[in-house]
Amino acid sequence: MVAAAAQRRETAGRRRIQTGLAVAGALVVFSTLWEVYKLLGGIIDDRWPDILPVRPDNLTMPHVWEIAGSFIEPVQRGRSEILAMSLLKAAGFTLIEAGLGFLIGTVVGLGLAVLMLRSFWLDRALVPWINISQTVPLIALAPIVVTWGRTTFLGDTVSVALIAAYLTFFPVAVNGLAGLKSPAPEALELMRSYAAGWSKTLFALRLPAARPYLFPAFKLAATLSVVGAIVGEISAGIRGGLGRVILDYAGRYTTGPEKLYAAVIAAALLGLFVFGMANLAEARILRGENQES
C-alpha cells in the first residue's frame, strides 16, 4: 500500500511536469504563430490591402516581445512602479471581489439545489427562472446592481461581488442538484433502514456524494467570478481593479497597445490562478477516496 501510494505520487509528479511542458509549448507555438502572421501579413498587406481580417501592424498587433517587455517597464514615464506590480495590485483588488462573489454564489447555488431537492414544486418553479437568469446580459444588469449598492450600505465592492455571484451560482445550483440526486436507491434505503430523516440523509449521504459533481462547478464558478468581477468593475467605473485598468489602457490604446494586451493577460492569469486553487482544493479534499486520484 505504501509502495502504491509512492507510485501514485510519482505518477502525479510526472503528470504535473508534462502539463507544465505542454503549457510552455503551447505558449511558444502561439507566440510563433503570432509573429509569423505579422511577418507574412506585412507582405500580403502591402500587395493587397484590406484583405486580412486583422491588420498585422504594430499598433493592432504589438510584437510578442513588446508585450512581454511592457510588464517590466514603468507604468508611466517618470514613475518607478513597473506595470507588472501595478497589475498585481489590481489583480489583488479584483480577486477580493471575485472571491466574495464566489462565496455568495456558492452559498446561493447550494441553497437553491437543496430547496429544489426538498420540494417538487420549488423545483418546478425555480428551474425556468434559474435558466432565464443566465440569458440576461450581465452588462445590462451591472449598472442596476451598482446603483443599489451606492444608495445603500452595501457599497461598490459588494455590488461587484453580487454581479460576480450572479454568474457563479448557476453551475453550482445545476451540478449541485445533480450531485444531491446521485446516490443509488440502495444507499437511500440504507439510510432509511437506520431511520435517518431528511436532514441526516442530506448531511451523511447526499452532500458528500455531491462533491464530485460540485468541484467541476466550483472550478467553472471560480473563473466566472473573475469575469463577473471585471465586468462589474467596468460598468461601475470602480477604481483599483483589473476592470478599470483594462478600461484605462483601452482608452489610451494608441499610445501603448502592449499595455492593454498585458492587462488582458493579467486577467487571464487571475482566472487561471483561481481555477488552480479550486483544482488544488479538489485534489486535497477528495484525496485517497477514489482509485484515480
Partner: protein, 264 residues
C-alpha cells in the same frame, strides 16, 4: 397447546403487494403471504427472478408498505421496528460510502444513533476483528476486494447488534470459494449474538447450508410454494457440505424450485 408461545421475530399475515395499482404498469408482486420467523431462526427466501423475494424483504424492513395484510417485527409493526432500529441490512452491492474509510463506514449507523466517538471507535474495532479485517479500518473501500467489502457491509449491518439481519443476495457477486468462506463466517457471526436472519439467495446450496428453513416462492404473483425444513442442526462446518442430510435437503429445495418453473 403450550400456554406460552414466544413472540416470533417476524409475523407476516395475509400480505400482498401491488406496485402501481392504478396504472398500466400494475404489478402484483406478492399475494397471500403468511410466514412466521422464530427468534434466532435463519430463514432463506429462494425462487425465480422477479418472484418477489426482494419485495418481501423490503416489506419486513418497512422500506415499502404492504397493500394488504400486516407485517410485525418483534411484536410491533414493521414501521415501529424500523424506527427502533431493530434490524440491520445488507445488499448484493456492498454499498459502502466511498468517501468514508472502512472503520467510518462501520460506524455510520452508530453515528446516526448519536453514539460517542469513543464508543463508535471501540465498536468498529471490535467488528473489524469479528469479520477478520482488523488492519483495514484506515483503508478506503476501493482498496478492498469485493469479498472484503461485503464483510465490511455485514460488519456495518451488525455494528449496533440488531436482533434481526435482513440480507438480499449479499454474496451474489462473489466467486464460489469466497462465497463458501463467507457463509461459514456469517453463521459464526450470527450464532455469537443469536441474530435472526432473513436471507434472499439464488443459490440452492447456499440456502440449504445456511438455513433452518428455506421458503420457496413461485412467481406471478409471488406466493409461498413450499417451506422446507433443513434438519442440519446448529453446528454447521465445511463437513456439513458433504453430509447426507445436506444432499437430501438440497434435492428437496431443487425439486420445489423445479415445480415453480425455475431453471436453476
Amino acid at each position: 397447546m403450550t400456554m406460552l408461545t414466544p413472540v416470533p421475530a417476524i409475523s407476516i399475515q395475509g400480505v400482498g403487494k401491488t406496485f402501481n395499482p392504478d396504472s398500466d404498469e400494475r404489478v402484483v408482486a406478492l399475494e397471500g403471504i403468511d410466514l412466521d420467523v422464530a427468534a434466532t431462526e435463519f430463514v432463506s427466501l429462494i425462487g425465480p427472478s422477479g418472484c418477489g423475494k426482494s419485495t418481501l424483504l423490503r416489506l419486513i424492513a418497512d422500506l415499502i408498505t404492504p397493500t394488504t395484510g400486516t407485517v410485525e417485527v418483534f411484536g410491533r409493526s414493521a414501521h415501529e421496528a424500523r424506527l427502533d432500529r431493530d434490524y440491520g441490512m445488507a445488499f448484493q452491492s456492498a454499498g459502502l460510502f466511498s468517501w468514508r474509510k472502512v472503520a467510518r463506514n462501520i460506524e455510520l449507523p452508530l453515528e446516526l444513533m448519536g453514539w460517542s466517538k469513543a464508543d463508535r471507535e471501540a465498536r468498529s474495532a471490535e467488528m473489524l476483528e469479528l469479520v477478520q479485517l482488523p488492519e483495514f479500518g484506515n483503508h478506503y473501500p476501493w482498496q478492498l476486494s469485493g469479498g472484503m467489502q461485503q464483510r465490511v457491509a455485514i460488519a456495518r449491518a451488525l455494528s449496533f447488534k440488531p436482533r434481526l439481519l435482513l440480507m438480499d443476495e449479499p454474496f451474489g457477486a462473489l466467486d464460489e470459494m469466497t462465497r463458501e468462506h463467507m457463509q461459514n463466517e456469517l453463521l459464526d457471526l450470527v450464532a455469537e449474538v443469536g441474530t435472526t436472519v432473513v436471507f434472499v439467495t439464488h443459490s440452492i446450496s447456499e440456502a440449504t447450508f445456511l438455513s433452518d428453513r428455506v421458503v420457496v416462492l413461485s412467481p406471478r404473483p409471488g406466493r409461498i410454494h413450499a417451506i422446507i425444513d433443513v434438519p442440519l442442526g446448529d453446528r454447521r462446518t465445511e463437513d456439513t457440505r458433504e453430509d447426507e442430510t445436506f444432499f437430501k435437503s438440497t434435492t428437496e429445495v431443487r425439486e420445489a424450485l423445479r415445480q415453480v418453473g425455475a431453471s436453476a
